[in-house]
């Protein structure tokens, strides 16, 4: 129930009013319980004890066993550590009767920590410890130390701690400058979509800022410079997370919640409906929960409906009507004003405390009702209207005794009225369907029944005209009336009668093929690509022989011309050349059969360069021989001429 309520609360969307934002995230009762459970975990060390004890005290809950807690603190206290003193002092202050005795050395240690040389965190811890232990401290010194440190440590966490420290100081000290830091820090908040306002350092920093800002503002009695919308945005940010990663995060959320629910200036209000915002004759009360951020009811507040208007007709039903408080829930008997069924826009105002923020809320309320079907008349009318109609009246929820027969010359007609069960007002629900279901074939056809100007519903079935919808299948059809609407409590499915329809000719197949989409389809056989048709081997072989035959011719011709290799000189270069050349040709063949281009190029480079060098040498030798021969022949010619 609490979960359902929190879920509905979370899903609850509040219209962004023209004036102000309302919280979209807040702690429901279950969230508060969960926060408490997190903070009630057994202590592991002094720090966790501090978070648990002080956190629970902020929620207004006391620790399970305070004596145990007190002895735990005393046992784990290390008097030489300022941090430990801080945790112990704060925790003991929160427990009912737990006193920690400190020696003079400890006190001097704490006083020494208040200087410009310590970090803001150390100053904060020292000052808080001194304050909680009831020891005197020099506020002005603290102020000057803080001012000096703030200018050096300009981050969000440090300034927040400074604010928190200042709230523990004497009111006579000059806290004005530190107070201004609230405004500067608020300017650093990131606005996310107009809904959230948070530091980029995260949830914990934002929550601690909220608690520190309100602590200091309350202390000096100066309103914090936060606009109402900003306060609500901070509420959304801090309470957007409903389960917390660490104890420190839970503690920061508890501090912020305590600060927001109990400070002198701003008190955010959370208004939500108990369950769905619906009223009806059986449940005539509209119940609202009006709480602060810690889900504590605002019993002293006055809740008022400023106006309630119907969404459809824009007529105002209520104006300035108060809610009555009963058991922490604000109630209003809306049905007493006899609203018609439908949706209503409520504008609710919560007053009674000047601190209240986001106290104007818009709410959408549904009024639902029960429907009754009157004057259900069924008849079979002849098209030429020569035979008088015979009307049969059927009472809900009975079924007509006789079935109606309509063939292609007749129309089947149905009229009825839909009225509100209690008030008798005519209704026009969203869904009024007439369904005809053939029991044998499982076919169904649905039509819409339309109201005329007097809100009388009529349905006419022209057998000849509508035969395509029925696939011209004659037979007995069960007739159902279906009525439904969001504002109806009792949707209707009523088997009114059986209708036998006779269609002119059986054009359709005698058996209706049930459109079953999920049967296995015929298997597709994959056709692999047919290899191309090759010519017969004989032909190929013939042409191979033909193409190779000119080589024979060449050999014959060369032989006839007398080409020979008698001049072959067996010099190393020519031998190497011919071997290399033969190797290159062999490489071509191997390339065709085995290798790829890269490998071939590699081998070709090696063999080719060898062949080239050898061939170069060989041809040079030949050239020398040729030139010598030419010269000697020229010489011989010259000599013979002479």
């Amino acid at each position: 129930m609490a979960l359902l309520r929190s879920v509905s609360l979370l899903v609850f969307v509040l219209a962004l009013g023209a004036q102000a934002l309302t919280p979209s995230h807040y702690l429901a009762a279950s969230d508060v319980d969960r926060l408490q459970a997190v903070l009630s975990q057994p202590f592991t060390d002094l720090k966790s004890a501090y978070f648990s004890i002080v956190g629970l005290s902020k929620l207004g809950v006391s620790v399970a066993d305070s004596n145990d807690a007190c002895s735990f603190i005393k046992a784990n206290l290390d008097s030489s550590s300022i941090e430990a003193l801080f945790y112990a002092a704060e925790a003991s202050q929160a427990l009912p009767s737990c006193e920690i005795h400190v020696s003079n050395e400890t006190r001097d240690l704490l006083h020494a920590a208040v200087s410009e040389d310590s970090t803001v965190s150390q100053i904060h811890q020292a000052v808080s410890a001194l304050s909680s232990l009831g020891l005197p401290l020099a506020s002005q010194e603290v102020v000057s130390a803080l001012k000096a440190r703030i200018s050096k440590e300009d981050n969000v966490v440090a300034i927040t701690l400074a604010l928190q420290t200042a709230s523990r100081l004497s009111q006579q000290a000059e806290l004005g400058e530190i107070l201004e830091e609230i405004e500067d820090l608020a300017a650093r908040l990131d606005d996310l979509g107009g809904v959230y306002l948070q530091f980029e350092e995260g949830l914990e920093a934002t929550a601690l800022f909220v608690s520190a800002a309100y602590a200091l503002s309350d202390h000096v009695d100066v309103e914090p410079p936060l606009k109402e919308d900003q306060v609500i945005q901070l509420v959304n940010s801090v309470f957007s997370k409903k389960s917390w990663d660490s104890l420190s995060e839970a503690f920061s959320v508890a501090s912020a919640a305590a600060a927001l629910s109990n400070n002198r200036f701003h008190k955010p209000v959370v208004v939500s409906a108990v369950g769905p915002a619906t009223v009806s004759h059986s449940q005539p009360l509209l119940q609202l929960q009006v709480t602060d951020v810690l889900c504590q009811p605002l019993s002293s507040a006055d809740v008022l409906v400023e106006s309630a208007t119907s969404v459809t007709s824009k007529a105002a039903i209520l104006s300035q009507t108060p809610f009555t408080l009963r058991d922490g829930i604000f109630e209003l008997n809306f049905m007493a004003s006899k609203p018609a069924s439908g949706y209503y826009q409520f504008s609710v105002a919560v007053t009674g405390d000047t601190r209240l923020v986001a106290n104007h809320v818009e709410l959408k309320v549904k009024v639902s009702t029960k429907v009754a079907i009157n004057n259900m008349d069924l008849s079979v009318v002849d098209k030429d209207q020569s035979i008088g109609t015979k009307t049969t009246r059927v009472e809900y929820p009975n079924k007509a005794k006789a079935s109606f027969i309509a063939d292609s010359h007749q129309n089947f007609a149905m009229t009825f009225q839909l009225v509100d069960d209690t008030t008798g007002v005519e209704l026009t629900p969203h869904q009024t369907f007439v369904r005809l279901h053939n029991q044998k074939t499982g076919q169904e056809v649905v039509f819409v029944a339309e109201p005329d100007s007097k809100n009388l519903y009529k349905f006419e079935l022209d057998t000849a005209e509508r035969k395509t919808e029925f696939d011209s299948i004659s037979g007995t059809y069960a007739l159902y009336l279906m009525v439904g609407d969001a504002t109806l409590e009792n949707p209707v499915l009523w088997n009114v009668a059986d209708v036998v329809l006779k269609f002119p000719d059986e054009e359709a197949p005698s058996t209706v093929q049930s459109k079953n989409l999920y049967v296995p389809k015929p298997e597709i056989q994959h056709l692999f690509r047919e290899p191309e048709k090759r010519p017969p081997t004989v032909l190929s072989n013939t042409f191979t022989a033909l193409v190779l035959s000119p080589f024979l011719l060449l050999l014959i011709l060369w032989f006839k011309l007398g080409a020979n290799i008698s001049n072959f000189s067996f010099s190393p270069s020519s031998v190497l050349f011919h071997v290399g050349h033969a190797a290159m040709l062999g490489l071509m063949y191997v390339y065709w059969t085995h290798l790829n281009m890269f490998q071939t190029l590699k081998y070709l480079a090696i063999v080719g360069s060898l062949t080239f060098l050898a061939g170069n040498r060989m041809l040079a030798q030949k050239a020398v021989k040729r030139i010598a021969a030419e010269q000697s022949s020229r010489l011989a010619k010259y000599r013979s001429l002479r």
């Binding site: 010519p535 032909l539 011719l553 060449l554």
Partner: protein, 113 residues
């Protein structure tokens, strides 16, 4: 008409037989061989079809390329053309012929599939 054609042809053949050196005749025989090889490949393609088209192309291009290179060699070797090819000795022409053939055969074998 045909009589004169025959006369021209026989005269040409007679001239050829007498005036061309043996070396050139050797190359001419080679040219004839290449020509016939190419022609027979083309004939096959016309009659039977271009089924392994890449093979046909590579074979045909091989024939055509070899023919062209051999013609170049013949031109460069011919002593009557010496004036046009002062920087190219017959040996150089032969070396070019071999190199060009290597490249041609590389491409042909790559494409033959």
């Amino acid at each position: 008409m045909s009589h004169s054609v025959v006369a021209v042809i026989s005269r040409f053949l007679e001239e050829y037989r007498s005036s061309t050196s043996n070396k050139l005749k050797v190359i001419d025989a080679y040219l004839l061989y290449i020509l016939l090889t190419g022609a027979f490949q083309f004939l096959y393609c016309l009659l039977v079809g271009t089924f392994p088209f890449n093979s046909f192309l590579s074979g045909f291009i091989s024939s055509v390329g070899s023919f062209i290179l051999a013609v170049c060699l013949r031109i460069q070797i011919n002593p009557q053309n010496k004036g046009d090819f002062l920087s190219v000795s017959p040996e150089r022409a032969f070396a070019d012929f071999l190199f060009a053939h290597t490249v041609l055969h590389l491409v042909v074998v790559n494409f033959i599939g």
